[in-house]
């Protein structure tokens, strides 16, 4: 480890922040756009470097920062940097932002920097710093389009961001109280000890990161925010930024340290609900990005389930962590590509080969998400299935059926997505070739990525999915899902629109906001009552003061009397008699 390694890592992570500051000089919008592709490159290079980067301290930074890049971090960084890079190039070539490009890119770069920073962070403060930077900058991405929908989405997003920040602050502080340090490994270790403080800290951290990771029921911002944001922004929101929540769980919570039943069960239930309900609600959505958002919720549900398992049976953690990593890479790439495709297919292709290529670009990531063979999706599913084999603990018996049902359901959702997004008419929204290229590369990455990423394990696992049995087990739920979709189309017109938007995007948000508004009205009423009570009290005091003033007026008369009439002798005699009495007695 050289002296400069930590600075290289830091600057790779924080380079986008420099670009973000550049955006303050808005006169130079072209420059802002021009640097877009390069901001994520150093991070990507660092992630791909074969050199190991152990944890090192940067003593002057924050409260004594610790940074490093372990395997988890490296894969998260890889996934994040790829998606950010793709989104950046896409955004640049599409000219996202128009007149307000500096604003969009400022937030974009800042969020990117935050995302990278939290990945390389090895202590709580640095992690939370990156997390906050990313979250708050994300607001700018969500609100960017600035119509009513975006404003509402951004508001919900922001409220939840603040809530998350507050919860994370409290959780981290409580965790420090047990651990006595900020290093993440120390914190995790400390939180694994039982105790009320640890329980509360874990709950706070779980919810705090859960908001970002779209854990049910804290996911409500996501189906609003993703459709509202510009396409490249939704891509990074869904593909990279919600993974930050997942990474937070992995870094802070004592998964794999000790048997934490309550944590396991809570997260398990939340995960299953997310995985299934996400699909169900997603199916009835009419807009492609909303569908993708629900798909993300459901996918994150699987990852939640994985972590839940490791809380229930800690000895499974090594296997689970690998599975999670595979899943992260897979989901980042696939979801990133799918989001970008929403923008690409706005323009129906003209030539046959371009039709073919775009068809492939559209279908492949969707298939991957459904777990089709040859893609990372199959690898991820296979990893999931392997987990029970490696452990001896009592796994929930539900696990296998859930996976199968999930695969089928995801397939249905993807069919629904393709149905909605498939170009039917010629809309003229020209898209640049570079953007198209980037999208296609990302879309096919679900196939080629395992062979490129310098991670032996992934490659071996991919090879393993190529066995006929594995292919079969990956394929049949897919087929079932497609058939089921066809049945639905025939019987229930589900896919063609009868039930469209039966559940509005943001599902739980509606009742909650109603409830909150009621509460606010009540509160206002209470405040008004208190205010009027206070006013009455103030009024009474004022009146009393006025009376006192009137009394002063009487004093004035007395004084005048004293001066004008023959009262002086009375006083002289009174004082003299008083003195004399006092002296003689």
């Amino acid at each position: 480890m050289g002296v400069w390694t930590e600075y290289a890592l830091l600057s790779a992570a924080l380079l986008p922040l420099v670009a973000a500051m550049g955006c303050l000089f808005r006169s130079d919008a072209r420059w802002v756009l021009a640097v877009a592709p390069f901001c994520a490159v150093p991070a990507l290079v660092v992630a791909l470097l074969p050199v190991g980067l152990e944890q090192v301290g940067v003593p002057w930074l924050f409260m004594g920062a610790q940074i490093g890049l372990d395997r988890t971090g490296r894969l998260f960084l890889l996934a994040a940097a790829s998606v950010w890079l793709a989104a950046a190039i896409f955004a640049q070539s599409q000219g996202i932002g128009g007149q307000r490009a500096h604003r969009f890119f400022g937030c974009f770069y800042a969020a990117m920097a935050g995302n990278f920073l939290l990945i390389v962070a090895a202590d709580a403060v640095t992690f939370l710093t990156g997390f906050a930077l990313m979250s708050y900058a994300g607001y700018g991405l969500v609100v960017h389009r600035f119509d009513d929908e975006a404003i509402r989405a951004a508001k919900v997003y922001l409220i939840l961001v603040v809530l998350a920040e507050v919860l994370l602050f409290a959780g981290a502080v409580l965790a420090w109280g047990i651990a006595g340090g900020w290093e993440l490994s120390v914190l995790q270790d400390a939180l694994s000890t039982a105790g009320p403080a640890a329980t509360v800290a874990i709950a706070f951290l779980l919810c705090g990161f859960g908001i970002k990771a779209a854990m049910v029921p804290l996911h409500v911002w996501l189906p609003l925010a993703h459709p509202a944001a510009p396409v490249p922004a939704s891509a990074v929101l869904s593909a990279a930024m919600i993974k930050a929540g997942l990474l937070g769980w992995i870094r802070f919570l004592p998964f794999g340290y000790q048997d934490l039943q309550w944590l396991g069960w809570w997260t398990f239930v939340a995960g299953i609900v997310a995985a299934l309900a996400g699909v169900m609600i997603g199916v009835v959505q009419s807009r492609p990005k909303t569908i993708l958002a629900y798909s993300s919720i459901s996918q994150m549900g699987y990852m939640t389930i994985l972590l839940a398992l490791s809380a229930l049976t800690p000895e499974l953690y090594p296997a689970i962590s690998v599975a999670v990593l595979v899943y992260v890479v897979h989901h980042a790439v696939a979801k990133g590509a799918l989001f970008l495709s929403v923008s690409v297919v706005r323009e129906a292709p003209r030539r046959w080969w371009s039709k073919l290529l775009e068809g492939i670009g559209l279908v492949v990531p969707a298939l991957a998400l459904a777990g089709a063979p040859l893609t990372t999706g199959a690898v991820a599913k296979a990893e999931l299935k392997h987990i029970p084999d490696t452990g001896e603990g009592a796994l929930p018996a539900l696990f296998d059926p859930v996976l199968i049902v999930g695969a089928v359901a995801t397939t249905v959702l993807m069919v629904r997505f393709l149905w909605v997004v498939w170009p039917r008419s010629r809309r003229r929204e020209p898209i640049s070739n570079i953007a198209r290229l980037v999208w296609f590369a990302l879309a096919t990455a679900v196939v080629w990525a395992p062979w490129v990423i310098p991670w032996q394990y992934l490659r071996r696992a991919t090879v393993a999915t190529l066995e006929p049995a594995a292919i079969w087990s990956a394929l049949w739920p897919l087929v079932v899902g497609v058939m089921l979709s066809i049945v639905f189309v025939r019987r229930h017109h589900l896919l063609s629109g009868r039930l469209e938007d039966a559940i509005p995007a943001g599902d739980l948000l509606l009742p909650v906001t109603t409830l909150l508004q009621e509460g606010r009205a009540t509160l206002r009423f209470g405040i008004r009552v208190a205010q009027s009570a206070l006013d009455m009290a103030v009024g009474a005091t004022r009146r009393r003061i006025a009376e006192y003033r009137r009394f002063l007026f009487i004093l004035e008369i007395v004084e005048a009397r004293l001066r004008r009439q023959a009262w002086d002798w009375v006083w002289i005699i009174v004082v003299g008699a008083g003195l004399l009495t006092a002296l003689i007695l």
Partner: protein
Amino acid sequence: MIEFPWASAAIVIPLAGALLCGVMSARLAAVVASVSSALTAMAVAVLCWRVWNVGAFVESLGGWGAPLGIDLYADGVALLMVAMTTVVGVFITVFSLGYFRDAPDSERENSHSRGLYWSLWLVVWAAMHGIFLSSDLFNIYVCMEVVGIGSVALVAMAGSMALRAAMRYLLITLCGSLLYLLGVALIYGGWGMLDMQALGPVVEATLASEVALAAMALGLALKTALVPLHFWLPAAHANAPAPVSALLSALVVKASFYVLLRLWIDVFPAIDKAAAMMVLGVLGTVAIVWGSVQALRQNRLKMLVAYSTVAQLGYLFVAFAPASTVAGAGVAWHGVIYFAVAHGCAKGAMFLAAGAIAAALGDDDFSSMRGRGRHLAVPLVAFALAGIGLMGLPPSGGYTAKWLLLTAAARADQPVVAFVVTAGGLLAALYVFKVLYYAFARPVSGSGSDAGETGEVQAIPTTMMVAPLMLAIVAVLLGVWSAPPLHLLDIGLPFGEALGPGLKP
């Protein structure tokens, strides 16, 4: 140098100046008065230097000595009062130089009255030194009468407005003096001597001595305007010419209080005075509240300042309450004397400043001050600095004095006194800032008073600007530099053992 009778000089020089002024033209009189003020100041400075280095001493006038002759007794307290008188007096002289050159017509009715002013003023000054330095009760009476008559004449110089006030003042001061003289007679009848230092050890608590003390206390309280005997003060102080107001409020009332204090502690240690001290303390409390409230209700600047004097004099009496206890006495007496000195300087500055403002505006009504504050910067600054002293805020002599009074209250375990002293400061803040309001308020635009705002502020002579400002700075410096005066106070243990335990906890 040591042989030279400096104490006598402090009295004789202004007296001689007064005699000269009486027979001179106004212009020459001003010069003589200035020279005489300067010489007096010099004599007092030497006197202070001497007491500081040598200690308290007795100086017999004409070499006769007590009991038949008259002794001057220069100890720390007397010197402090003399020094205060001189400092304020010098600035009054400086102020008067300008004031009587450009005074409104009513105040310079003929050229003769100018020479008369200087003459009277120097006589009063000399007599005040006489009061402070005498140790002979009858001599004090004579000096008090001179001060009283001189003051009345000075008040009357303000013209028709002030005549009634002057007359009432004359009656009151004569009445007070006679009550005092009655006490002197009773004391002489009982013990056959009049020297305060000599009387202290021999006077016993008999009916005669108690009646004497009561009569003297009543007379002196009347002259010091202790509420409810203050009815004569506001009119007299407010209607007098500005330098005279300063003289009366800052110095003359202190002289009678000083005598009361001396009697109280030096002459009648044998009498149990605790109850009477409580009576005085209660009256002092009433004075603070009453005077402040009345000050707040005035529409004229000088009336406000005059009522403020009523309130501030209350402090002098409030301190009697803690002084009645063994634990509180030393600090309380220190506090009282320091308060008298600090108030003398502050009130002198305040009245001079008020005089300057009134001279610039033509009258001292608050309504004519509105919006013209920026033309009155210097006198208002002086007023503000003096106000800090009255409020007892640091850094000022008033702060140190109030600190001592509060300490006395704490030692005597009398929270009520602490409360009164504190509340009095806040009440003072109310009326001081009522005036300063005009220094800061922007003229109301668009109202009909525009013409009044823009001009018509008469230029006032530099001496009238400088004198209040310098005096106010002295009042502030008394707080920054209070160790020397407090040290001077202890020289000769002027109040016998009452100051003995002193400030040391």
